[in-house]
Symmetry: C2
Subunit: 206 residues, 2 copies
């Protein structure tokens, strides 16, 4: 009933609208949830990190496409077995409710980003989110981007060119530095949050 399975970067895990006979959670790596229009326009609607849940109890088809953004390991449960477990153990559904509400808050926060922020603020917001998970004891803050420029554009509702330009602009403004093009460094997290349009009441990060 419980099993582990791996995917490599770029592999599709589930296609939009397809039957989804399992639920699971991310063990390691990072996956993207996307929703598309017929003409190909695509919007990322979620970024799954370790411990995040995949699938929806009580629904048999996938509402979103799920793709491995990095190499990925998932812990899977057969849907029916999982639903039985939920019915028996109130804790499980309690916990799942809490996780869903957190994701709902995250989705709604992202709606503000998509609807109202400028390109520069969007990019700064994403970089700030990535850096928020960086080890807090080192300065400068350093993090590996789990996404390509293309995936970032899909996440932010922008084009790849705009993402690239804004990253360059933030670099020239000395808000961030890059090492290669998948590692970001930041000396002044408060300044980055300001660029993101957030008040920098950041949780003791600096």
């Amino acid at each position: 009933m419980k099993s582990y399975r791996s995917w490599t970067t770029g592999e599709t895990i589930v296609m939009e609208g397809e039957p989804l006979p399992f639920v699971g959670s991310v063990v390691s790596g990072c996956a993207t949830l996307t929703r598309s229009m017929e003409d190909g326009r695509t919007q990322m609607v979620g970024l799954l990190m370790p411990s995040d849940f995949v699938g929806r109890p009580g629904r048999t088809t996938a509402a979103y496409e799920v793709v491995a953004a990095t190499d990925l390991v998932l812990c899977q449960f057969r849907r029916d077995a999982f639903e039985e477990m939920m019915a028996e153990t109130p804790n499980v559904s309690q916990r799942l409710l809490e996780m869903s509400l957190d994701e709902l808050d995250a989705a709604r926060d992202w709606m503000l980003v998509l609807g109202r922020k400028t390109a520069r603020e969007k990019v700064a917001t994403l970089l700030a989110n990535v850096l928020r998970r960086a080890p807090t004891d080192q300065r400068p803050l350093r993090a590996e981007l789990p996404l390509t420029r293309d995936a970032m554009a899909t996440y932010l509702g922008l084009t790849i060119e705009t993402v690239s330009r804004q990253i360059s602009a933030l670099r020239k403004a000395e808000i961030i530095r890059l090492e290669g093009n998948r590692t970001v460094l930041c000396d002044d997290y408060g300044a980055l949050l300001t660029e993101a349009g957030d008040d920098d009441d950041g949780d003791g990060l600096y």
Copy 2:
């Protein structure tokens, strides 16, 4: 422990970040959930209709501003009493999970609207969603808009002028008609969905 309370159009029900000592559900009318930046930019992140839930069990402050979009009646529960009830009756938390997941899907669908649709598609999407609740047995479809142009703009991540222009454009293209400026009529729902960029099968949400 349970009580009813009314608000009139435009009244604020809860302010962002304020303590929220109750949870509840909409009995009649319509409320908006919004999230704002310090400089005043505002994005609607949800539209609450009858039977929708307000508040979050396990959290004592409001994450969003809630405003009555029309005259509104709420059925309220004291938070602590409600949480007790949840712990005792698995059905309640089961049902709440289902509702949360529906709202999560709705929020994510709306992310695609905000991130990727054009102004015309956004407006058409909103009108299509409003008309989807209209009585299906009459032609033309007719519905009252629960939102002002300003609220629509906040919902769609646009300005009020753009919303107004797109409504005019859809009217001139004979996709919709108006009666006053709060009532929409539509003879060809399929055509409206095409303008919305959807395959003609309402996906969705508000």
